[in-house]
Symmetry: C2
């Protein structure tokens, strides 16, 4: 099976990492819209427009399914993408919410949802989790985490100041949804701040979801990888090499 | 005279502020490419492509000149814009370098240039200032300053941590070029860090440049203002109201 992974930039490589580790696919084709990154500060119509262009891009390839690794795309554009795509389209929000349901049985648990402004404003996580019976939800858009991660500052004083700024009045949650592809890269400091919280990672969640959906029986010890970007594809390939240890 | 001001986002409003204060224009039409902001992390070809689209946009208006408020656009796209524009196109880099030349007579002065990655990589300031005889130049791209300003954190711990991160090993300069439209908004903390430095502001520099170029004799106590954005124009108008005290 061949999968096209779409992200606003390089962040979706954290999802590719999970797909690779679980050896689910024969081929992974990645497209990062690096010329227009970030999506998380853009509005719904713009995100839909750009996401439909990504569907067009993947029509040039013989893929079986498309995964929107980007939470902002998953929040706003999945329905529209499904209408025009000749392949199945999966987002990461429903998988994330289901992963939380699997991990946290207590419906009174405190759930903290971190995401981009677009993802948080969409209220997609909140509505899904409410429909599963969870009521103690807190949503937050710590916007600066994203450029801090992009600057490669996965630890240190700036990240600590930013965590203080956004999280200082936040009670210890029972679970923390890493609702942006960048946040797994600072999972360590976040876990340290919230030591008892179960962390929900989009990459792991979509793997679990696809495994349930397709009941894969075959594993691929070698996966063909192709990387595309709307600008500076070499930069993307370099980050891929580092993060995915290629 | 009517001017079209182009910026990657809202930052160029700091330039509009200077144009307004000096009452040079009958009408200012602003276009912020908010759907694709920021430009400063994008590569040369992308910046040129987007800037040429902005020229097309302004062809719909009866403007006399166009000002690229964005330093990244000024660094990479001015020549290309001039080739296709039916009006005069001005960037902010040459004006900034000339403003520095007016302010700093000592050619051995220490000059610190702060800008986006695109602006710094282009070396446009460096080459111009070298050609004027300045040799002690240091260029730096403190990338996080931009999202910090966009988050409205014009002071406080995150900004201080970021200033420590980028500037801690930097000697006190004699002049500091604020080579990004966002930086005038943190001019206070930067001046506090470098108390003896003369700060060069793109908005003031372009005003000075245009005054020399056109020898304006008329002042406009009322300026017609129009704001356009490639997404969320209402958001842009709100920021304009606040920053420009409309």
């Amino acid at each position: 099976m061949r999968v096209g992974v779409f992200d606003s930039g390089i962040g979706g490589l954290t999802v590719v990492k999970s797909l690779l580790e679980h050896q689910l696919f024969e081929e992974i084709i990645y497209f990062g819209d690096t010329a227009r990154v970030p999506y998380g500060v853009k509005d719904k119509n713009t995100i839909i427009r750009y996401s439909l262009e990504a569907v067009e891009f993947f029509k040039n390839f013989d893929i079986d399914i498309m995964v929107a690794a980007c939470n902002s795309v998953s929040a706003y554009a999945i329905e529209e993408m499904r209408e025009v795509a000749p392949f199945k389209v999966f987002g990461v929000i429903e998988p994330g919410a289901l992963a939380l349901q699997n991990a946290i049985k207590n419906k009174n648990a405190q759930i903290l949802i971190l995401g981009t402004k677009a993802t948080i404003n969409s209220q997609k996580y909140t509505r899904l989790l409410n429909s599963y019976g969870y009521e103690n939800l807190l949503s937050l858009a710590p916007s600066l985490f994203i450029p801090i991660v992009e600057e490669g500052l996965f630890e240190g004083e700036i990240l600590q100041s930013a965590m203080d700024h956004y999280l200082k009045h936040i009670q210890q949650p029972d679970a923390l949804i890493l609702g942006c592809t960048h946040f797994p890269l600072i999972a360590g400091p976040l876990q340290k701040r919230f030591p008892d919280a179960k962390l929900i990672h989009s990459g792991e969640a979509i793997v679990q979801y696809l495994q349930n959906y397709f009941s894969f029986t075959k594993k691929f010890s070698e996966t063909k990888l192709k990387f595309f970007a709307s600008e500076n594809p070499d930069g993307l390939k370099e980050v891929a090499k580092k993060w995915l240890k290629l």
